[in-house]
Every structure is written in C-alpha cells, then in structure tokens.
C-alpha cells in the first residue's frame, strides 16, 4: 500500500492508496488537526488507528509539508513544537525503506501536469501548451509559493523556487504608492510579492486603499465586521465576490491584478510555454474573479513585443483540485516504486 500526506499547519490530510498504476481513489483517508500532535510520527500513528491500517501495510510513503525541505530534512514553517522531520526518522518509524519528504509546492508539482481538464480552469483558452517548462504560482494562507517544472524533453521535473520573496515591481502610480506605504510600515527595507499575494497581503492592500484614501470609504458596518473577525482576508474576499462593498472589490481587484503581473513575469523568467498554473487555496476561492479578465490583462501587460508573447504562448490555468498536494505526494510515491 502507498501512504501519502499533505502536512499543513492547521490540517493534515493523509490517505492510503493501492499500489497500482493509474489515478485510483484512496482506500482510506482522513483529515487530522496537526497542532494537536507533538510530531508527524504521532500524527501518522493516530491516522493508522483511525482508518484501521497498520505500518506493516505500507510499502512506500511520501509527504508534502508546508515548509522547506533540504537534504531529506524538513521543518514545518509554523509548528515550532514539532522536531525536524527527516526521511530517515520516518523510514525507521514506518519500518519502510521507500520514504520521501517534499516541500508542498514540489509535491503539487508532481500532480499538476497530470490533472484532468475538468480539474483546471483555463484563463487563456486560445493557447495550447507547447513542449517546454511549466510553472506553478500559489497564493496560499500565509505565503506565496512558486515552482519551476523543468521540461527535460521527456517529463516535468519539479525545481524549487523562492521567487515569492523577490522584490515587488509596481506598474503605475497607485502601486508605487502601495510600495511606499508598505516600506513606511515597520522597519521594512524591501517589499516582496509575498507581502501582497497571501491572506495577510490582501489585508495589506485593503488597508493601503483605505488609509491612503485611494479606495472608497470604509463603511461603519464593514469596519465592525472586520473588527470582530480573526480572518479579515476571508471577510474581504467574500464581500468582494458578492460585490457588496466598493472598497473590498477594489482591494480584490488590485490583488488579482498584481497576481496576474507576477505570474506574467514568472512565465517570462521560466519561459513557461508548457503552462502557468495557479494553485493554492486563494486561487481556488477567487476563481470566478480570476476569470473576469483582470488577471489576464495584467499577465499580458509587458513591455514591447512581450505583451503579445505572453498572450500568444502561455497557457494559464487555475487548479480546481483541492487535494493536489496529496495527489502529488502519492504520484511521487508511485514513481519511487516504478509505477509511473
């Protein structure tokens, strides 16, 4: 049997798959609250109990984790009490030699190229993918993940990126003011895309539009709602998608436009004629907004002939599969035992 997991800060999603070729549904799966365990091993142990499987059933395992993985060692980005996760430790615990540990973006990269078309929303449908690199850009809860899928003329190879931490490139006077606003907050010397394209980033954009008076006035009703929630980004998004408040709509519009601009830059950096994929929870939540034209306008707003270059060569697709990290970890596991 194959054990695969997406280990996230709040919730972890584990599943067991049959050791067979193809896209088979899981034979067992469970969501578990990560913070209630003291280590990944404890979490996996509890998973086995809940789904009535044993370690001995597992022949190969792979986990995608929300944190960096270097040389077989991974650190969960926001669970400090967990010890370092190691391939060796997991291998000993499962008594199984075939174990791998991936960053969640890398895991996503294993599943993305084989997603069926009904799990993708096409934003540039006149363009079909060419043989060449692809890229993933995922605005997630707290961060902005990027990944290169290097095309080796036979298959895609995930190659990690830290591009979410590159400098924000403002495109107009409004965005220059946004950059100045964020530089003025705290002791920041640089403003990266992650400070804009994440849930806290959306709140940054909202606050900028409000405080600079570049956006509409904040209604007292909205102020109350935002004061009483722990998750202002979700509130702003819901209201914007329902078109109930001008300021929220402006904030989400600017968010989506910056998302399009950076995705267009990434397409140029990686020469991603194989496809630009938008992943992560935020893209999924705002998929209707992503397809209203704002994103693609920014994606193709490049200098000289590169406007047309991006429009005519880059397939752009939103990933609609919520379990893409889990499926990627499972695919990696299948590759490890020669099933792919």
């Amino acid at each position: 049997m194959i054990l695969a997991g997406f280990i996230d800060v709040e919730n972890s999603h584990l599943a067991i798959f049959k050791q067979e070729k193809g896209n088979l549904p899981a034979v067992a799966e469970q969501n578990l609250p990560s913070q209630e365990y003291s280590s990944l091993e404890k979490l996996v142990d509890d998973f086995f109990k809940k789904v009535n499987f044993k370690k001995e059933d597992i022949n190969v395992a792979c986990f995608g984790i929300a944190g960096p993985v270097v040389g077989g060692r991974g650190e969960m980005a926001n669970i400090e009490k967990w010890p370092t996760i190691t391939v060796q430790g997991l291998s000993d615990f499962l008594d199984c030699p075939a174990v791998d540990l991936l960053n969640d973006m890398v895991a996503m990269g294993y599943a993305t190229p084989i997603l069926p078309t009904d799990k993708l929303l096409d934003l540039n449908s006149s363009v079909s993918s060419q043989a060449g690199n692809a890229t993933l850009i995922a605005a997630m809860g707290k961060g902005l993940g990027e990944l290169l899928l290097y095309w080796d003329h036979d298959e895609f190879r995930p190659s990690p990126s830290e591009g979410g931490h590159t400098n924000f490139a403002p495109r107009n006077e409004l965005e220059i003011e946004l950059l100045r606003y964020l530089l003025g907050k705290g002791s920041r010397k640089v403003v990266s895309y992650e400070q804009l394209l994440s849930w806290p980033g959306l709140v940054n954009i909202y606050n900028f539009l409000k405080e600079s008076k570049r956006g509409s006035k904040e209604s007292s009703e909205l102020r109350k709602r935002l004061m009483s929630t722990e998750d202002p980004a979700t509130v702003i998004t819901e209201i914007a998608l329902a078109n109930e408040d001008a300021l929220c709509t402006q904030a989400l519009d600017l968010f989506v436009s910056i998302y399009g601009a950076v995705a267009g830059d990434l397409a140029l950096h990686y020469f991603a004629v194989g496809g630009v994929y938008l992943g992560g929870g935020i893209a999924l939540e705002i998929k209707d907004k992503l397809s209203d034209g704002t994103f693609m306008q920014a994606f193709t707003e490049k200098e000289g002939k590169f406007a047309k270059f991006n429009a005519d060569n880059m397939p752009v697709k939103v990933i609609l599969e919520p379990d893409v990290v889990l499926l990627g970890a499972a695919r990696r596991a299948k590759k490890m035992v020669g099933l792919e």
């Binding site: 931490h165 590159t166 490139a169 140029l268 990686y270 000289g304």
Partner: protein, 341 residues
C-alpha cells in the same frame, strides 16, 4: 570535429573545436562583421572555405556537428526543428537548422539562444575566467546567469543531480522592481514610465541603453551635478563614456549613474537567484560586467543582491557569485553543446 559559433548582431565568432574529456579545445577560429553578409549561410560558408584552405589535418577539417549561439529568439517548430530570426539583423533571412544542415552537409546542426550557449559554457570555464564577487558556500544545485550588454539576458541552469541543463529565460523583460534605501529608483520608474508608455521592463535599466536611461534621469533631475561637455557632445555609445567617466571619478553624475546601475544589477541578480533557487552559483555575463569590475567589487552589487526579506537574505548571502571575464564563453558553450549531441 565541432563547428561552433557565437553569432552576434555586430560580430560573429566561428571556430573548429575538438573535445578532450570534459573540455573543448579550439583548433582554429575567425571573427567576422555580421552585417557584411547578406545571410548567415553565406558567412558560415566563408568560414568553411577558410577551414578547407587552412593547415589543419584532413581529420581535423572533418566537421561532424555544428552548433551556433544566436543573438535572437530561437523557436522550435512543430516538427521539432529550430529556427532563429536575428534581432538586430533584419535583412538576414530566418536561419533554420535543416537549411544549414543541407548547406554545410553536416548533420546535426543545432541552434541555441546566445544565453543558452553561455549557460553551456559555464562548465568550460576555469578560475582565470572568473572574478569572485561573493565566496558563499558552494553547493550542488541550480545555477543562474544574468548578462547585461546590448540587452539583458538571463538563463537558468537546472541541476538534475548529475549535470546542469541550461533553460532559456525572457526574464529581462519582466517588470522593473525598484529597490534601495531611498526613493530614487521609484522616481526613476516614474521617469521611464513616461518614456516607455507606462511599461518598464528590467532591460530598460540593465543594459547599455539602460545605463543611459539612468544617466538621463539623474541629469534631468538636476540633483546630482552637471553633465560634462564631452558627454553632452556624445551622440552614440554614451554608455561606454558614462562608465569610463564614472570609474575615473571625473564626473559625479556619471559616478551616481553607475552606482544606481550596479545596485539595480545586484537586486535583479538576487531576484533571479531566488526564482532559480541558484544555490549552485550565480554568474554575471555580458559585455558590461568586465568593463566595470572594480565597481562591481566595491560592495554595492552584493549589498543589493542580499537585501531580501527574511530567510532569503541568508539564502542569497550563501550563494557564490562570479563575473565571467572570458568573452568567448558563448563560443565555448556552443562547442560543448555540440559535443553533447
């Protein structure tokens, strides 16, 4: 033997190479003025004739493969063949692998983008071809090349655990991201938005014409001193003069322009390193870097390279950064790519 070439908008450098172990060795080479020929085919036929008349042995004259790095976008057609339209020689017909193959009676012929050729050339360099800007901690992993010259070229080198594979990039046309401790680069962006209808890519600041743009912005702002009489008279190749006057310390305006240029160069190289996760090293190529070496080494470049948020500052501080001083890196790379067919 390998016929290799570095095909530029102004100059073309062709050579015959042999391979020993992991290195290519030049047997014969010649430089040409590209614009003196009506087509690339005619130019390369001239060289083949030159090789035939040379004193090379019959065995050394036998060309088994040809590979060219082109200053222009290389497209892959649906049949897998590659073709290229040279960027600055519009009167040359489109260059196609199949047509060159028939003309030269050589199979295979491989066309590469000039930056890809530099990417292949990295493995052919030795210590004497490099000047270190940051020692860092060398690791096995991806590499990145950024090269400001006539334009801004980038290429990343994907590490497959065994060797590096150059992967083309058009990141030089991504949106310019101003940085720095003051608002100078924000004003530069505002200035260039007016000049370029609102769209400003990195190449508008990181190239010969880019240095001129930075200079013009500083001059027009009136805050950084007066334009020298010599520069005011100069109409073409001002970038060369600006960098010379900056390095000699003769003109404050030029010095400031080069300082801003190098700071943006560092910040952009640092961003490309993050995009590429280039823990295997960053290489500064192109025609400008070897001319401004002392300025690149004064700390401005690396300070901007490392000025990233959070952990990314340390990630970049650990990356080895080197300037490529061998102008033949592209030719060597084309030859090495020829070996690998």
């Amino acid at each position: 033997m390998i016929l290799a070439g570095d095909i530029g908008g102004t100059k073309t450098h062709l050579g015959i190479f042999k391979c020993e172990g992991n290195k290519v060795i030049s047997l014969l080479d010649k430089k040409y003025e590209s614009q003196n020929y009506q087509s690339f085919g005619k130019l390369v036929q001239d060289f083949v004739a030159f090789v035939k008349q040379s004193s090379l042995t019959t065995a050394d004259k036998y060309i088994g493969v040809a590979c060219f790095g082109m200053a222009g976008p290389v497209k892959t057609e649906t049949d897998g063949q590659r073709s290229c339209q040279m960027t600055n020689i519009p009167n040359w017909p489109v260059i196609k692998e199949t047509e060159l193959s028939q003309l030269l009676k050589v199979e295979p012929v491989v066309l590469l983008n000039d930056l890809e050729a530099i990417g292949y050339g990295i493995s052919q360099l030795s210590e004497k071809d490099l000047v270190e800007l940051n020692r860092g901690i060398p690791q096995a992993g991806n590499r990145a090349v950024i090269a400001a010259g006539t334009g801004l070229g980038q290429v990343m080198l994907y590490w497959d655990g065994n060797e590096h594979h150059p992967s083309a990039s058009e990141g030089g046309h991504a949106n310019f991201a101003p940085s720095g401790d003051d608002e100078l680069q924000l004003d530069l962006l505002r200035y260039l938005r007016k000049k370029y209808q609102g769209k400003v890519g990195f190449e508008r600041v990181l190239s010969g014409p880019g240095l001129e743009n930075i200079y013009d912005f500083l001059r027009d702002s009136g805050k950084y001193g007066k334009e020298s009489a010599e520069l005011a008279k100069r109409l073409d190749n001002r970038a060369q003069l600006i960098s010379e006057m900056a390095l000699s310390g003769k003109n404050a305006l030029c010095s400031k322009a080069l300082d801003v240029f190098v700071s943006i160069y560092g910040a952009t190289a640092g961003d490309f390193a993050l995009h590429s996760f280039a823990v295997g090293g960053v290489y500064i190529g192109g025609g400008i870097a070897p001319k401004i070496l002392e300025k690149l080494r004064d700390g401005t470049f690396m300070q901007a390279f490392k000025a990233k948020e959070g952990n990314s500052a340390q990630l970049n501080a650990d990356i080895p950064v080197n300037v490529i001083t061998n102008p033949e890196v592209g030719l060597l790379g084309a030859a090495w790519r020829g070996v690998k067919t």
